[in-house]
């Protein structure tokens, strides 16, 4: 998994978002054991306490669960993963709509542009960066 961080948000919040993407996209499949905090922290290049905080928060949300000695696992609850996916999608859409509104577009125009863009060939694979 590739980890990227921006300057304007707390690191633990960015970790939560990126692990969620990993779970939703299947990089961390349902029921799979997650690497240890230390390994995840080393991979992401972040402080182990920050990684621990992010995982604890994901655990509180129910997306991951821990088993006393065996470590942390991704939830097997498909509905929960779908809900997380929808949540991430809504965030992207809100950000997009905000940016378009700032450019001066109205709802109808935005929808027209979206329809035009999605009908273009090869537009189904999301190549636009975040």
């Amino acid at each position: 998994m590739k980890w990227q961080f921006s300057n304007d948000a707390p690191i633990y919040a960015q970790l939560i978002a990126q692990i969620k993407v990993g779970i939703v996209s299947g990089a961390f499949p349902p029921g799979e054991r997650l690497p240890s905090v230390r390994d995840l922290a080393t991979e992401a290049g972040v402080n182990p306490n920050t990684m621990q905080r992010a995982l604890a928060e994901l655990e509180r949300d129910g997306l991951v669960y821990s088993q006393r000695t065996a470590g942390r696992f991704v939830t097997e609850d498909k509905a929960m993963i779908d809900a997380a996916k929808l949540g991430l999608a809504e965030n992207h859409i809100k950000t997009f709509l905000l940016a378009m509104t700032r450019l001066g577009y109205r709802r109808e125009e935005i929808l027209d542009l979206l329809r035009q863009e999605t009908s273009k060939e090869g537009s189904t694979d999301g190549s636009s960066g975040m």
Binding site: D8, P10, T42, G45, N47, N49, T50
Partner: protein, 231 residues
Amino acid sequence: MAVLECKGLSKRYGHTQALDRVDLAVEPGRIVGLLGPNGSGKTTLIKLANGLLTPSEGELLVCGMKPGKETHALVSYLPERTSIPLWMTAGQLLDFYEDFYKDFRRDAAEEMLAHLNISPKQRIKQMSKGTREKVQLIVVMSRAAKLYLLDEPIGGVDPATRDYILSTIIGNYDPEAAVVISTHLISDVEKVLDDVIFINQGRVMLQSSVDQIREEKGMSVDELFREVFKC
């Protein structure tokens, strides 16, 4: 108990006030950035903490003790300049550290050297500057110390070496120990830190957690530093 504690700590060199009534505490399990411009007192504070200097006023305690023989066994120090004997081979350096420090984890050091393809037979004299810095960091981090004092561990090395050094610090994380990293290369170390201490002209200007700064100010520690220390 705090691993490192300063109470009203001052240090003067003649008329120069290097540290001015510094109060701070570093708890176990924290990785702390000691950040400040050149000449702000970072190295002075680190040297006081390992007993290379003595305070002019105030007090500094390591695990509740004044720096001395007992604290030398608890503190692992990476000086600003590479100071390992050049005539030794990497293997001899490990022997040397093993002789000197009870808490030296030779297997950890050997594993890290092997990971970097550094042969124990290679002489330190024949290594590049970057490799020497890596070797010195490896022996410093291979001690099971309570307090690691790293004075500019990433200054003067390439970005790939920087990443290696930082991942070594993360990989050796011990919840019982604290790490103090002094640097002015903030954007590189920011993600690795729990807390930051801003120091300027010998005074502590700010002590906060990295995510608290990002949450409250909506900017990175690097950006905040540039704002606070704008010339």
